[in-house]
């Protein structure tokens, strides 16, 4: 049976149906989902009216999972199985987590990404994040009354390739089609920029629960151009809580607490931090498991003093970003504050002092990222003309490969606009060398050991040659999500090797399949139904897109080509409403194949048009 499509009130369903798309802010502390409704970006609340979903997941002994408020409520009673701030572990190894010993979790040092042992088994941060995303997906689908075409998921701008890949995998695991990974500060800029119709250079200062980003953007007639970005993917509100926690221990003469007491005091520390936003002092009172009473008073001045160096750690990347953008502080027209942690008065003061101006806080710092992501999701889903604005983002960290002596040769510098490709030639150092090992790294430092290892692969079968005469061309390609793929080719012989960078810190497709199979039978049926729905949605969109393209530019084709495309369309139409998702998939592939040269012709035409317009206006001028 054909699925019914629901359109927005007041809009006709054809020919352009409104496609349901959302923006998701997958935060360290809280997560949100937003969508564009009647042209306005709105955050979707849960049944109880809450917008913020605590990013907390609890695993129970019977295998069931709870995410959000209910999980958060149990974090002190069941800390080992209640995972908070999981974002900090995405794409990270155990050695990357500096305070692992202070955390109540049972970490498992798996190759690549750290895992967590829970009462329901060992879970990867990707699986934990997927639980949060599933709740948001369900919330959105119930609220919007239909299956989502896709979502824009935001990531800290300073996330490296491993962290981005992990985020995308989590979304896939949650059954979400990722339209784009979008940098959080850029999302915030969209929400602000479109609101205020501003022009000029803006700084977005984004201090979240566990990450800090600074982005310098230039806004001009419909273009958001990121000039530079910097940050610290292990610095956020959690560190402020940690400072208060340590202060409580010191003040109360406590040491070596159990996991439950640790979590209890961290919860009190966070509450105290929030209290100090509006009060000059706050009382912290708690009874520990052994009956000890904690009763201390913290003043705002004390809190300011103990967090001074955390603020300094945000200003250092800020200076670097400005330097990379080749701008001085007085060239910045406005400063946008993002993230719940920017509510702290000392943060606002430090930022105001640094930039010599009062930062903008007119949009809710907790919601602004999700609102911006929703606006972008709406465009990417094809609900708007698409010529409204253009977003040009960059990679946050340089990419390179290992060369002799454990040194890194940078191939793509940080702040390169994406999508981007760079190639560099290398050669062999031994006579008759038949293979070359390629080690891909990300970071700014010179030594391999100081950068993040993203992948290793080998180019084999290099024909025997004298040392130095092979020409090995290594190409880096970064897509619009900021994800890297690398290929290597010996140019004399044509020997090739390629890798999508995800082995070391990401999940292989097999892992995702296994995780999906781990889910119970009911969930699996649900997955199959979802897969079918997704294929059908994709097929209908493709048919609609090709129909429109033929109507617009059919004259670019000869009759035979048009016939061929129409035949493929008929083939797909014949199966689209059936229950065989593989047949639909094959039909989609066939139609994609049949339209390759048509798509090329259309692209050439639109590029030529862009330039032609220019020529004419110039001729008139002269």
């Amino acid at each position: 049976m054909a699925l019914l499509q629901i359109s927005e009130p007041g809009l006709s369903a054809a020919p352009h149906q409104h496609r349901l798309a959302v923006g998701i802010d997958l935060g360290t502390t809280n997560s949100l989902v937003a969508t564009v409704r009647n042209g306005i970006s709105v955050v979707l609340n849960d049944d109880a009216g809450a917008a913020l979903l605590p990013s907390v997941v609890r695993y129970l002994a019977d295998g069931s999972v709870v995410a959000g408020e209910a999980a958060q409520a149990e974090q002190s009673t069941d800390p080992q199985n209640t995972i908070v701030s999981v974002k900090r572990f995405m794409g990270r190894g155990l050695k990357d987590i500096g305070d692992a010993v202070d955390l109540p979790y049972r970490f498992v040092d798996a190759p690549g990404m750290v895992q967590l042992r829970t009462v329901a088994g060992v879970k990867s941060p990707v699986e934990v994040s997927a639980e949060i995303l599933k709740v948001l997906r369900d919330r959105a689908e119930r609220s919007l009354g239909g299956a989502l075409v896709g979502a824009v998921i935001t990531v800290p701008a300073y996330f490296d390739d491993a962290q981005r890949q992990a985020t995308k995998d989590a979304a896939r695991l949650a059954g979400i089609n990722v339209l784009r990974l979008l940098n959080e500060p850029t999302a915030a800029a969209i929400a602000y920029g479109l609101d205020n119709a501003s022009e000029g250079v803006y700084a977005v200062y984004d201090l979240g629960g566990g990450t800090f980003d600074i982005s310098i953007l230039k806004l001009s007639r419909g273009v958001f151009e990121v000039l530079a970005t910097n940050g610290d993917s292990a610095l956020g509100g959690d560190d402020f809580d940690q400072r208060i926690y340590c202060w409580i221990l010191e003040k109360s003469g406590l040491s070596q607490l159990g996991v439950n007491d640790t979590r209890l005091l961290l919860t009190h520390a966070r509450a105290a931090k929030e209290q100090l936003t509006d009060n000059a002092q706050t009382q912290i009172t708690a009874v520990l498991g052994g009956g000890e009473l904690v009763n201390v008073t913290l003043t705002r001045d004390e809190f300011d003093a103990m967090t001074q160096n955390l603020l300094a750690r945000t200003l250092q990347p800020t200076r670097r970003a400005l330097r990379d953008a080749k701008l001085s502080v007085d060239e910045v027209k406005g400063v946008v504050m993002v993230g719940g942690s920017t509510r702290m008065p000392q943060v606002q003061r430090a930022v105001a002092e640094f930039f010599n101006q009062t930062p903008l806080t007119n949009l809710d710092p907790d919601k602004v990222v999700a609102l911006g992501a929703a606006i972008q999701a709406n465009v990417l889903a094809g609900n708007r003309g698409g010529d409204d604005w253009l977003l040009l983002d960059v990679i946050p960290l340089s990419l390179g490969i290992e060369t002799m002596g454990g040194l890194v040769e940078k191939i793509m510098p940080r702040n390169s606009t994406i999508p981007s490709a760079r190639a560099q030639e290398f050669t062999t150092y031994k006579d008759g060398q038949a293979a070359m090992s390629i080690h891909v790294l990300q970071g700014e430092r010179e030594l391999v050991s100081d950068c993040r290892s993203l992948a290793k692969f080998e180019l084999r079968g290099i024909p025997p040659m004298v040392a130095g005469s092979a020409r090995i061309r290594v190409t880096f390609q970064v897509d619009a999500d900021g994800l890297l793929s690398v290929s290597a080719r010996e140019t004399n012989s044509g020997v090739e090797a390629a890798v999508t960078v995800k082995p070391a810190y990401g999940l292989q497709d097999d892992d995702i399949t296994r995780m999906l199979q781990d889910a119970n039978q009911h969930a699996r049926d649900d997955m199959l139904a979802r897969a079918l729905r997704e294929q059908q949605t994709e097929a209908r969109q493709l048919l609609e897109a090709v129909d429109n393209a033929l109507a617009q530019d059919g004259t670019l084709l000869d009759e035979a080509s048009r016939q061929r495309i129409r035949a493929s369309m008929d083939g797909l139409r014949a199966v689209v409403d059936g229950g065989d998702h593989n047949a639909i998939k094959r039909g989609i592939e066939a139609l994609n194949q049949a339209t390759v040269s048509f798509a090329q012709k259309r692209m050439d035409q639109s590029v030529s048009r862009a330039l032609k317009g220019h020529k004419m206006s110039e001729l008139e001028k002269n």
């Binding site: 496609r19 075409v149 339209l179 784009r180 273009v223 250092q316 200076r319 670097r320 330097r323 972008q376 465009v379 990417l380 889903a381 094809g382 698409g386 010529d387 253009l390 977003l391 040009l392 390169s416 606009t417 994406i418 999508p419 981007s420 490709a421 700014e444 390609q477 897509d479 619009a480 969109q541 493709l542 897109a545 090709v546 139609l591 994609n592 194949q593 339209t595 390759v596 798509a599 090329q600 259309r602 692209m603 050439d604 035409q605 639109s606 590029v607 030529s608 048009r609 862009a610 330039l611 032609k612 317009g613 220019h614 020529k615």
Partner: protein
């Protein structure tokens, strides 16, 4: 002039419809870059077929590469010479004039000194000096390429610029170092 059919293989100047010279209208470059990205950027194709998405990534990548190349005077000079069939031999040709090498050594010593003494002001001063020298070399390059049409001389200036750019990069790294 007829623009003809756009294709991925055409040179960067043709892609932006700009005359093939070292000196160029940077405002025109910026605005055409944006117009082209407006047509080809993956965000405009996210809801379309795989084929169209792939093509869009290829085009957007090419447009970014062209823009980065033409925007940077060093990369632009090198690229223009390559269009003339001249290889700048930046890795292989190390026969630099003696006075230039002396100057390089002196700059490196100054950088090392500023780094050791952790003096921001000294670093600022060095950066300004290097910037000025780079500006002078760029003027020479414009002269050699656009007026004198002396590709051999131009290749020599490109090699010098490469040295200067390296120093400028190291000054940037020294700033980062002082800041941490």
């Amino acid at each position: 002039m007829n623009v003809g059919s756009a294709d991925l293989q055409q040179d960067f100047y043709a892609l932006f419809s700009l005359p093939r010279s070292f000196q160029l209208d940077s405002a025109a470059l910026d605005s055409r870059y944006r117009e082209l990205q407006n047509q080809v950027h993956p965000d405009k194709f996210a809801h379309l077929s795989d084929t169209e998405r792939r093509l869009s990534v290829q085009w957007a990548t090419r447009v970014n590469e062209a823009y980065q190349t033409l925007r940077s005077p060093l990369a632009r000079g090198r690229y223009l010479l390559s269009l003339h069939g001249v290889d700048t031999q930046e890795e292989t040709n190390t026969a630099m004039p003696v006075d230039f090498l002396m100057q390089q050594m002196e700059l490196r010593e100054a950088l090392e000194e500023a780094r050791q003494s952790k003096e921001m002001a000294a670093l600022d001063e060095l950066e300004a000096r290097v910037k000025q020298m780079i500006g002078a070399l760029q003027q020479q390059l414009a002269l050699a390429l656009d007026e004198q049409r002396d590709d051999a001389a131009a290749a020599g200036i490109v090699r010098k610029l490469k040295f200067m750019e390296k120093i400028a990069e190291e000054i940037g790294a020294a700033f980062d170092e002082l800041d941490s």
